[in-house]
């Protein structure tokens, strides 16, 4: 085999490998991108849905534990990848937790939750509402959704 032939074969090998790697990366990348996006939006939605249903129908203890579990999960998701909609969902969860604390006359804990809720609302780009107005808006929304 002549040196020229060797160079041509080596060139063909390198081009084939590079082309294949490029196509494989693009194909897998687009699928993985969709899978990651889907899991990052479907999973929080499922848990938020769960805690909202628990808030509407369960007793105080179960509703509170569902909302807390959702809040911890969303906080972790925020650390993984911060997103506006996630912040809003988190702020809503904290506002509902505050409403539950109001129901058992625990204004201190309610205020602590509202501090978190307000800061998250602001961080998501929404207007800074007073605590009472945020609670009232959510109460009205929940009432209309019933």
């Amino acid at each position: 085999m002549t040196p020229a032939a060797k160079a041509v074969y080596l060139g063909a090998l390198l081009i084939g490998l590079s082309l294949g790697a490029f196509v494989g990366f693009l194909e897998e990348g687009s699928v993985l991108g969709l899978v990651y996006e889907a899991s990052r939006s479907l999973a929080p939605a499922a848990l938020v849905d769960f805690s909202n249903m628990q808030y509407r129908h369960a007793d105080l203890e179960h509703a509170e534990s569902a909302l807390e579990m959702t809040a911890v999960f969303l906080e972790n998701m925020e650390e993984l990848k911060p997103e506006k909609t996630q912040k809003l969902a988190l702020a809503t969860a904290y506002t509902r937790l505050a409403l539950l604390q109001d129901a058992v006359s625990n204004p201190q804990q309610s205020h602590a939750y509202m501090v978190k809720a307000r800061s998250l609302y602001k961080a998501s780009g929404a207007r800074d509402y007073p605590e009472s107005e945020m609670k009232e808006r959510l109460r009205a929304f929940d009432q209309s959704a019933k």
């Binding site: 041509v8 074969y9 060139g11 063909a12 090998l13 390198l14 081009i15 084939g16 490998l17 590079s18 082309l19 294949g20 790697a21 490029f22 196509v23 494989g24 990366f25 693009l26 194909e27 897998e28 990348g29 993985l32 991108g33 990651y36 889907a38 899991s39 990052r40 479907l42 999973a43 939605a45 499922a46 848990l47 849905d49 769960f50 249903m53 628990q54 509407r56 129908h57 369960a58 007793d59 203890e61 179960h62 509703a63 569902a66 579990m69 999960f73 972790n76 998701m77 650390e79 993984l80 990848k81």
Partner: protein, 167 residues
């Protein structure tokens, strides 16, 4: 000969590209987030379990749209019970339990309409047991049915709502 080498080397190159993409995505996520490394495995498990529950629901809805409508809820219940056995996270189990409770109520409604009262009662008993464990206290059978139906309707695809039969 050179063309043959080019074509043959395309395949291993593609496999390399696939592996590189997986590695890149995995590490890109780790690099971007600030989540503590010890919390990652749990979060990944929760994500995976919740996505599986959502997928099961979507597939169940799609299958019932395509036909075999009376099998919608029993099939969904079987799937949820299988997922519950495999679930390793509190978050996953809680979501599955609530889905199960609602699915039992819906299955009971369908059986009642078909005059299979014994089967309906069995489903209703399962629903009551699951939902009570989730804190749905003080509900009569009728109130439990209407609450579960409302929650199911909220999420039902528009195409399934058209017929309005709870199958």
């Amino acid at each position: 000969m050179a063309l043959g080498i080019l074509v043959l080397s395309f395949w291993p190159g593609r496999m390399l590209g696939v592996r590189a993409a997986r590695y890149w995505y995995h590490h890109q996520e780790r690099r971007l987030g600030t989540l503590d490394a010890s919390q990652r495995p749990h979060l990944e498990s929760v994500l995976s379990e919740l996505v599986t529950v959502e997928e099961l629901r979507v597939v169940s809805d799609a299958v019932s749209e395509a036909g075999a409508k009376n099998q919608r809820w029993p099939r969904y219940i079987r799937g949820l019970n299988r997922l519950k056995q495999k679930s390793r996270t509190q978050e996953g189990r809680s979501v599955i339990d609530l889905e199960l409770g609602i699915a039992y109520v819906m299955a009971a409604t369908v059986e009642e309409q078909d005059n299979n009262n014994e089967v309906a009662a069995h489903y209703m008993e399962s629903a009551r047991s699951v939902l009570q464990s989730l804190g749905w206290q003080g509900y009569s059978d009728d109130a439990l049915t209407s609450a579960a139906k409302r929650e199911s309707d909220r999420r039902e695809p528009a195409s399934l709502k058209k017929g309005k039969e709870p199958r």
